[in-house]
Symmetry: C2
Subunit: 405 residues, 2 copies
């Protein structure tokens, strides 16, 4: 989402349509983020489109871009301190090759690499890795657990120079990596699994967890649950950092922020908003209905969770049209959205942080570079005044700056 | 072989033992090569050690280093024109992911990427990709042929934006890459297979072929054979560039060059030389024999080819000891070696080039950075005087500089 996290960011007057394939665009963002003192730069990824309908896919600013590891290796050369985290799948990679590639990035960058482990549930992506290329035995998470264990052993500074001789259900790996450890020892392991098995895997192996929560209560419940699991796994809960995603739209006044936000919301193409709403509600019942009319009565389905039902009810109470409800869902992409002044936004981040619903945040600027720059110039100084954001980097490695050493 | 192509380069007084894991070392070499006008920088690779005996492996300066794609992405940021070619295996990768990674490097670098396709015959490397991780059906080259075809389709500028819907024996790949073509259209495809099936694959698909030949006759025979196969495959033989490897040791005088060379040869550890000689001759008969004594009578084995037999005979005629013969084999690594003045070396390169045994050369400096710098300062000006080396780059892409557009 090189044009920004908002689903219609690519239509914003400020957006460059080719941002996702311009290296200079990423250099600009990485330098701005480093200058501001962010812990890390995170690249989400999938090896292929994630939306089967090409018409919808082409309008979600989520098209295929650079392969993230090589992009980060390029960015490492243009930055000095910020962490560099790339997504890679346990379903479509081999643990020895993946461990080696991230250990290389870690060395290249002087100890700033991180791996965001995903297990790739998308059947659309799977179609690019079919036939006999990869035979997956056991379930996706069985493979992911073994994969993570192998990678962590290969990264372990004590195991770098000797054979690990792993023989498991999904993999066998004989040699050690041969590569020496970077200044941070091993790359940081990031995860975002929300399911039961995903939380267990994270509790057992991850350094950082990304999550999506739209309310304090949901975030707090997730936080407490995962920290509990970390303790159960015999680890210190401080050794896993939980970072909910948040998409801020900030301006000098509330009215200006709201106007920026509404301008973005108005850019969401109707068909994209409707397709995502239908997918979110797991229903075909919206087809052919007038967009300016109300939501119809919908049968409860497996896909409709209580939280979504609540939002739908509220939309009805507020008399929102189908278009408005659809835009509400589409713009947010499931993440927390904060719109207001620097002080409004700092208040909300502070509440989650001091209430132990978050150890930090995955900031998802709605539009690049505008909303990143606004966050940096308006919100960060406010957070610094409150003692909630660093004045300078603590160290030169990602682990040092996450306080994980 | 970050310390140099000579097997004992890591023991040279000028070598830095940690060269292979210092990014700055590669930046220095890449910039020197670009300044000099080389077509490309090539990284050989294997995902793991290639020598089962760890003691020998640790003394061959061929230890594991950076994963080459991320290393080249880093180097792309520090260079502007030189081509960047990385080795990757068709046995341990998936075509969609590999095509995407190289297409990304190609975009990142402004059209300078190349993929050196290898099929990975080593059983030692295979032990890192065992169990159910990759199921290989059919033979290695069956997989490689299908792999190369898929990658070339994914790279084809005409196929970038649409599904390729490939269903084959080894792979199925549905989507197109989504990434736009770089200024050179598609990455350059390099191969080095010497076998019959390897030559056919190259003739059908490659842009550049690397080869090892120690004499003009061997190089010429390979050149003619491969160009014949290119014609048979319906391609223009000028669209495939054949580049034998050559390891030059150059100095102002022949005596000084010879002295540099002998200094390097003397650094080869006896056990390394002996292990490689035993492997080359496919024999255990050298064990326990005095190193200063002559080679024993050896039964002809499958591993002993006529050319090797010839060298052995000659060694006997010259009264060489086992140590001397072993060092001769070990130092060269099977590649052509030229030792002498700039004029001597230019004469030999010119003979191969004008005799149509080579379209260019893969220069393998014996020691980094010394022998690269010597080649650049002594041999290249001599080649330029003869009109055999460019004065300035022809274009900004690798294809342009290889004359392949």
């Amino acid at each position: 989402m090189a044009t920004g996290h908002h689903i219609a960011a690519w239509r914003h007057p400020e957006a460059a349509a080719d941002a996702g394939i311009r290296f200079e665009h990423y250099v600009r963002l990485a330098r701005a983020a480093e200058q501001a003192g962010f812990d890390l730069l995170f690249l989400e990824d999938a090896a292929g489109l994630r939306e089967a309908n090409a018409n919808i896919a082409s309008q979600t600013s989520r098209s295929v871009g650079f392969e993230p590891l090589s992009l980060l290796a390029g960015l490492a050369a243009h930055t000095s301190t910020i962490g560099l985290v790339a997504t890679a799948s346990t379903s479509y990679n081999e643990p020895y090759a993946l461990a080696r590639a991230f250990a290389s990035l870690d060395l290249l960058s002087g100890g700033r690499a991180g791996w965001n482990l995903v297990t790739s549930a998308s059947t659309i992506e799977a179609a690019n890795f079919g036939a006999e290329g990869l035979c997956r035995h056991g379930d996706r998470y069985g493979r992911a657990n073994e994969f993570a264990d192998i990678v962590k052993r290969l990264w372990d500074p004590a195991d770098r120079a000797r054979p690990i001789a792993h023989e498991g259900e999904n993999f066998s790996v004989f040699q050690g990596l041969g590569l020496p450890p970077s200044p941070q020892g091993a790359p940081v392991l990031v995860q975002a699994g929300a399911s039961d098995v995903g939380r267990d895997l994270a509790a057992r192996t991850a350094d950082v967890v990304f999550t999506a929560a739209q309310t304090f209560e949901v975030a707090k419940s997730f936080y407490d649950d995962v920290k509990h699991r970390v303790r159960e796994a015999g680890r210190n809960p401080d050794h896993l950092r939980i970072m909910p995603g948040v998409s801020p739209v900030v301006a000098e006044t509330r009215a200006a922020a709201q106007e920026k936000f509404e301008q973005l919301q108005a850019l969401i193409p109707d068909e994209v908003a409707l397709a995502l709403l239908a997918s979110y509600l797991d229903t075909d019942a919206l087809k052919g209905l007038p967009l300016d009319g109300p939501l119809p009565e919908l049968p409860a389905t497996q896909g409709m969770q209580s939280r979504q039902a609540l939002v739908i009810e509220q939309s009805r109470r507020d008399g929102l049209s189908i278009r408005d409800v659809a835009r509400h869902f589409a713009g947010a992409r499931g993440h927390w959205r904060v719109v207001g002044t620097a002080s409004d936004i700092a208040d909300q981040l502070e509440e989650w942080f001091t209430g132990e619903a978050a150890d930090g945040f995955n900031i998802l600027p709605a539009v690049f570079p505008g909303e990143l720059d606004s966050f940096v110039s308006l919100v960060i100084p406010e957070l610094q005044r409150r003692g909630l954001f660093r004045e300078a980097y603590d160290g030169r490695t990602l682990r040092a700056n996450l306080g994980l050493v």
